[in-house]
Symmetry: C2
Subunit: 136 residues, 2 copies
Amino acid sequence: MFKRIDHVGVAVQEIEPAIALYGGDLQLAEAHREVVEEQGVEAVLLDVGENHVELLAPLGPDTPVGRFLAKNGPGLHHVAYQVDDIDAALQACRDAGLRLIDEQPRTGIRSSRVAFLHPRATGGVLTEIVQPAGAH
Amino acid sequence: MFKRIDHVGVAVQEIEPAIALYGGDLQLAEAHREVVEEQGVEAVLLDVGENHVELLAPLGPDTPVGRFLAKNGPGLHHVAYQVDDIDAALQACRDAGLRLIDEQPRTGIRSSRVAFLHPRATGGVLTEIVQPAGAH
C-alpha cells in the first residue's frame, strides 16, 4: 500500500533558520515553498533523494503547529507515506479498523491529495497518507 | 550528502502490538529483527519501498528509549538519513559547526555504521546518519 516515505514533517518556530540548517548545513535542495492558509502553516519542502523534509512554521499560535510547538517545542511532527491511490489506502485503513482524522482526502501541498490517520490509532505517531498530484 | 531517508525511528512500549499495526494493518513487510543490547532496545525494521520504519522497544526503563517513553509516551523518536560515506558526512557536519553525539561512527542495526547528531544542533530533531553495510 505504501510506496515510500514521502516526507517527515518538522515543526519549527521560524522558517529561515530551519532552511539555513537543512538547505545549508545539511545540503538538502529546497524544492518548494507554500503558505497553506487552511492549515495555518508556511511549509517548505527539501529533497532527500525521492523523499522530502517538510519544514512547518506556524502562521500564528492558535494553529495546529503553533499548539504543537507550545506543548512540545520544535521537532518531529509527523511522517507521511506515499501511495498511488489514496482512496484505496483510506479504505484499507478503515477496513483495518484504524481511526482517521480525515474521512475523505483533502488538498495538500503541491496540489497533492492527503489524509491523516489519528495518532491514537498509530501508536502516538501522527501519520499522513499522500497521493502526489499526477499520480493515479 | 544524504541519499534518502533511511528510516524513521518509532518508540513503542511493546514490540508485538507495533508489529501488528505496521506489519498487519499498514501492510509493511518485516525485514529484520535485532536486539541491540548496547543501545538497550529490541529493534524491528519494516520496508517502505527503499525506506524503513524502525520500531524501537526498550529492554528496560533505564535505557534511552525507556526514558524517552517515560517523558514523551510512544511516538516518533528520530529520523535517519542514508549516506555512502559516513566519515565524509560527519566531517561535513563538523565543518558546518553542528554538534555531534557520536564523534566517530559506531555499529548500528544490520552491521551498518551510524552516528547521531545532537538534537540541539538540529532544531529538536534527533538525527541519525546511516551508512549501510556494504556501502562505500
